[in-house]
């Protein structure tokens, strides 16, 4: 078996064991209700994590995700509640702005040859700052279209609800998998993450790819913002603080190498679900505080990074055994 699949399998195994352990303690967790809620509650996180996976696969990082989600939420609230814009038009405007925003970060990263974390850090400040400039209050969104979208769900046997936003997340993941493995753009992303210089010499349009990756991450963050706004029915400039860390954690737990070039979108989905399971467990338990999530996620992060480190070490050892100067 390909050693690259090992982290993915480990993730899947951990996910199943965690879920089984939860079900063992709280049999009620084994229900379509919980499953449906897992999708709904983590929809925005999942959608943003797809974008983050692409960014990390290319060897970069995007710290602006959380701020962009908050920005989108506030923008939608302002447009819909204050200016009476129809949500669909507001969605289009928000997606346009976030995509251009992401693309501009990509332009700076590529052409100024600066580390992505410092550029997206500026992006994070900028997006969060723009939220505050628009408003510092929490603005509720009360629009029939929102109510309609929120009421859209498919009732699963057992009472679970497959909501619109939950389905949207699954759809985004499916599209992400197709882009990653069955499109030229996807192969370019892996190429840039594997070795930028080689990719360039092999004719990969590095500039276009880099800008495209960050534009896509911006777009997906915007989409996550829309989902978040549907989920909370409000826009608040202090929302989604630290979501970038949750998404990075989901990507890493999903088996993607933070150095780029290696990983799977499907793994990220499992990474998101693992985080969701931990939160659900804490809710079911009732006595544990939510900060346990952070600690468990931190421990998982460490375990996966250590696992990857060992795998890289082993493959290096094999490489020096076969070549060497």
């Amino acid at each position: 078996m390909n050693a690259r699949l090992l982290p993915l399998c480990a993730t899947l195994l951990i996910c199943l064991i965690a879920y089984a352990a939860c079900v063992f303690q709280f049999p009620a967790m084994f229900s379509t209700r919980v499953a449906g809620n897992l999708l709904t509650d983590n929809a925005f996180l999942g959608i943003a994590a797809v974008g983050m996976t692409f960014v990390i696969l290319s060897g970069g990082i995007d710290l602006s995700v959380g701020s962009v989600i908050a920005f989108t939420g506030v923008l939608l609230a302002v447009l819909i509640t204050h200016y009476g814009v129809h949500p669909l038009i507001a969605f289009a405007i928000a997606l346009l702005i976030t995509t251009v925003f992401g693309a501009s970060m990509g332009v700076i990263i590529h052409y100024l040859e600066v580390p992505s974390f410092i550029v997206t850090l500026a992006g994070m400040f900028l997006a969060r700052g723009m939220c505050f400039v628009m408003t510092t209050d929490s603005i509720p969104i009360d629009h029939p279209f929102y109510t309609a979208l929120q009421g859209l769900f498919y009732r699963l046997p057992g009472g679970g609800r497959l909501t619109f936003i939950g389905c949207l997340m699954v759809l985004v993941f499916l599209l992400g998998i197709i882009v990653a493995h069955f499109s030229k753009f996807g192969s370019y992303i892996y190429a840039v993450g594997g070795n930028r210089t080689s990719a360039e010499l092999m004719g990969v349009p590095v500039a276009r790819t880099t800008i495209g990756i960050y534009a896509m991450s911006g777009f997906l963050s915007g989409l996550a913002g829309i989902v978040f706004s549907l989920y909370t029915s409000a826009g608040y400039s202090l929302a989604a603080v630290g979501v970038e860390l949750d998404t990075i954690a989901a990507v890493v737990i999903g088996g993607t190498l933070l150095t780029g070039g290696v990983g799977y979108i499907a793994g990220t989905f499992i990474g998101v679900i693992i985080q969701g399971i931990i939160q659900t467990y804490i809710v079911f338990d009732g006595t544990l505080s939510s900060w346990w999530t952070k600690i468990v996620v931190g421990v998982l992060l460490f375990s996966f990074i250590a696992l990857q480190r060992i795998l890289v070490f082993l493959s290096l050892k094999r490489a020096t055994a076969t070549s060497g100067g």
């Binding site: 100024l112 990074i305 480190r309």
Partner: protein, 338 residues
């Protein structure tokens, strides 16, 4: 390393000029900006405030400079601040004596830093990756310590670190200045400056030359953690409580920004602790300026973003000329002249 000669001064010109410009703008926005008065044996005034509020970031920037010079970055300092603050507050409330509290908080920071250092030096993890772990888990640990609530305290000894003063100078300024002086002295009097720059520029070659680069990295990250805990104690003392969620939030980014503003490259190598401290002061002067001119403090974020972009543009333009030259020359393996 710093050498106070004209060359160093010329190099610091952009930073000094921008600081002067910001201070001048602050003066325009608030004519009383430069007024300093002595009240209850303590200095007051907007300028003092810049340094007082800037002290935690100055302290963070001192540690961060060493880390960045070694071609690393420490994303966990904000979370470490929260841990140290939480520990200090909780132990004070539990009635431990002040020295024990301070030592425990500093020890926690040191331990966090050493953890990062072990991951970076001995496990060869990328610094961003290694410190990300604690950045995520650190706040959880802080909340574990405070048990999820905001712990407030009234112990005057601890509060003194945040709001007290000595010979009229507020404690945070005093602590930051002492740490700065010690750090600069250490860099100048020992070989650490050279050795840190050396591993930052080329770790492999440094190891070949017999440097103990692993131990040095461990010490650097440990020191950075120590600085973070010191900053965490000051902030907790200042607000007389520990807020695990918000203490030090985003300050890692301010610290990195301060170092970058101070002119240390994110790719390691040449560094100046004094310049990083200057960078931290510049950032705080901007913050204060925004407050004084009546804008909502949230504008700070936009301003910081703009500062980052301007610096990146300036750096790439100033280095582009040099870069184009170097690239052309070295790619052709030029032995241009003997």
């Amino acid at each position: 390393m710093i050498r106070l000669n004209t060359a160093a001064l010329t190099k610091a010109m952009p930073q000094l000029l921008s600081l002067m410009l910001i201070l001048f703008l602050n003066y325009l926005a608030f004519p009383g900006f430069f007024e300093i008065r002595l009240q209850d044996g303590r200095l007051f005034g907007s300028l003092i405030d810049v340094f007082n509020r800037g002290a935690p970031v100055i302290i963070l920037a001192i540690g961060m400079t060493a880390v960045i010079a070694s071609r690393g970055v420490d994303l966990s300092v904000g979370a470490v601040m929260a841990v140290a603050g939480a520990l200090a507050a909780t132990m004070t409330v539990a009635g431990y004596p002040l020295p024990v509290v301070i030592l425990a908080a500093l020890g926690a920071g040191l331990a966090c830093g050493l953890w990062n250092g072990i991951l970076v030096a001995y496990f060869d993890l990328q610094p961003i990756v290694a410190t990300l772990i604690l950045m995520v888990a650190g706040r959880g640990i802080a909340q574990l310590i405070t048990e999820g609530s905001i712990v407030t305290f009234t112990e005057p000894g601890l509060i003194f670190f945040g709001t007290g003063s000595f010979a009229g100078v507020p404690m945070p300024i005093l602590i930051a200045a002492s740490l700065l002086a010690v750090a600069i002295a250490v860099v100048r009097r020992t070989a650490l400056g050279l050795l840190i720059e050396s591993i930052g520029i080329n770790r492999s070659a440094s190891s070949y030359a017999g440097l103990n680069s692993k131990l040095l990295l461990l010490v650097i990250y440990g020191f950075c953690g120590l600085c973070a805990s010191l900053a965490g104690i000051i902030i907790a003392a200042d607000i007389r409580g520990a807020d695990a969620n918000n203490a030090g939030l985003w300050l890692e980014l301010d610290a990195i920004l301060a170092v970058v503003v101070g002119g240390t490259s994110l790719f390691g190598g040449r560094f100046s602790i004094l310049m990083s401290a200057l960078g931290a002061v510049i950032i705080q002067a901007m913050n204060t300026g925004i407050l004084l001119s009546g804008f909502p403090p949230e504008y700070n974020l936009i301003l910081k973003a703009l500062v980052i972009i301007v610096i990146l543009l300036a750096q790439s333009f100033s280095s582009l000329g040099g870069w184009a030259f170097l690239k052309g020359e070295f790619r052709s393996k030029g032995t241009k002249r003997q």
